[in-house]
Amino acid sequence: MDSFFAIEVSGLTKVYNNSFTALNGVDLEVHQGEVFSLLGPNGAGKTTLMRILTTQIKPSSGVAKVFGYDVLTQGSKVREIIGYVPQEFSVWTDLTAYENLRVYSRLYNINDKRKIYELLDFMDLSDFSNKTVKTFSGGMIRRLEIACALLTEPKVLFLDEPTIGLDPAARQNVWKRLKGLNDEKGITIFFNTHYIEEAELYSKRVAIINKGKVIKVGKVEELKKDLGFEVISLRVGNVEKALAILNSFSKKVSHNGKVIDLFVSDAEAMIAKVIKALENEGVEVERASIHKPTLEEVFISQVKKEETIRGKISEIRNIRRAVRRG
């Protein structure tokens, strides 16, 4: 049972209409019970990958498996074990919350009203079960959609931009429930996002995708470390003398007035030694602080590396069209 990955993708490509390459050889492994995020700018191929994994569209080449089932040849098996919340609305806004769950449960062939009430309760929507969805806030609609995706008690939950357009409080509320699902029921969660802090806060591992290629994958902490630096900032009395001493600690030292930035790989382990060395030589340290890179810096350094100027209207239009379709 545990011998395979929740999601396993290798050499996956998708070309739309023989012209637009949305995925260009993606390899990815997601462990069972993991919260995994796919982070990338708009048009990077996130939605296309998710639509292939949820058996909506077929890949052009490569293999994708969900809990060991091939999405191409065992699509119906895959559909039985997944829950999916698309980026756009997936509920009927002229029905009530209860009615939406009821219709979906009929489609899933589950005739258990208790399950519906249980999910409404879990998603904190019990008080609104007989209100039409039209009257709901964005966060409530998202929670209802997640409830719909949970009807079958899926093993993997696919969420495409789960909190897009939600305010911070609503976003937190949605994630509180998702975290609960992962912690208590061990449901694997795979989500797409272009919000960096969302990937950083909620996922255990992140894959950064750009132009149809995964360019980096790993634990959030590891990705940050890969960037290779943390910074110790020091405000000292004697800059000249301090620089001479600090050069032995790191190859990269810069200074701006009385403030010196020392680039190291593990700032927390180094800071005490650095200060001690300076004070032993009679250099007064007035202030000291540590700055660690955020996932945003990792993201930007990775994506920008690949980014050329692509301001051409035709290309933007192509991407838009593909996104709308895919």
């Binding site: 919340v85 756009e88 029905l95 219709v103 009929r106 489609l107 899933y108 039409t132």
Partner: protein, 251 residues
Amino acid sequence: MALNSIIAFIELEMRRLRTNRMELYTRVVQPILWLALFGPIISQTRAIEIPGVNYESFIMPGILIQSIVFVSMFYGLTIIWESESGILKKLLTIPISRESIIIGRSSASIARALFQMAIIIPVSYLVGVRVDLNPLFILLSIFIVFLTSMGFSSLSIFIASFMRTRERFMGLGQAITLPLFFASNALYPINVMPPIIREIASFNPLSYSVDSLRDLLILGNFNILNDVIFLLLFNFACIFLASIRFNKIAE
């Protein structure tokens, strides 16, 4: 599995209609005008004489089928709307086959059709149409109405797969529905038509629906076997085509 989705989609349709009741009422205005105005006027001019029945009775099945076909032919709009939202994407990830989705969705249009039937038949009584109320006739009529709404709804889904935008679909829908109505036996017998139109009418599924309803409700006979066979073939063809194209809508 298909039965499961038929029930689910009919329930969906019923629940949506309950919140959008207005739509049901506005949809019956047009057929009532045909029955209450057009019918009696043409009848008085004696422009079209049909032996054995008055003109109002002759066109009642035609008007009923016409109103059902018009509603069904625009069913594709729902699918286009759902493909623009996330609903269609979501439906594709549910463990039911594409064919079941098509069959379920198109058969759900029976919900509206039955409502139209329930209004139009009593209204026609007021203008002097006498319907044979033999339960077997009524039951078979419902079956015909079911085949009609399902066939044209799946045809509409098939057409929607080529249009992709609501505006284009609306345009084409308008362009198809009226000719479909006029090139049929809904308002006049086939033998008074020019030969070319007569040919078209004999391949027009709408003619077969009208013909069988006329036999059942007005003439009170069971001569509907040929009509039913034709309608079944029409359904198979449309469901088959719509299922193939359904993947395209999804992409």
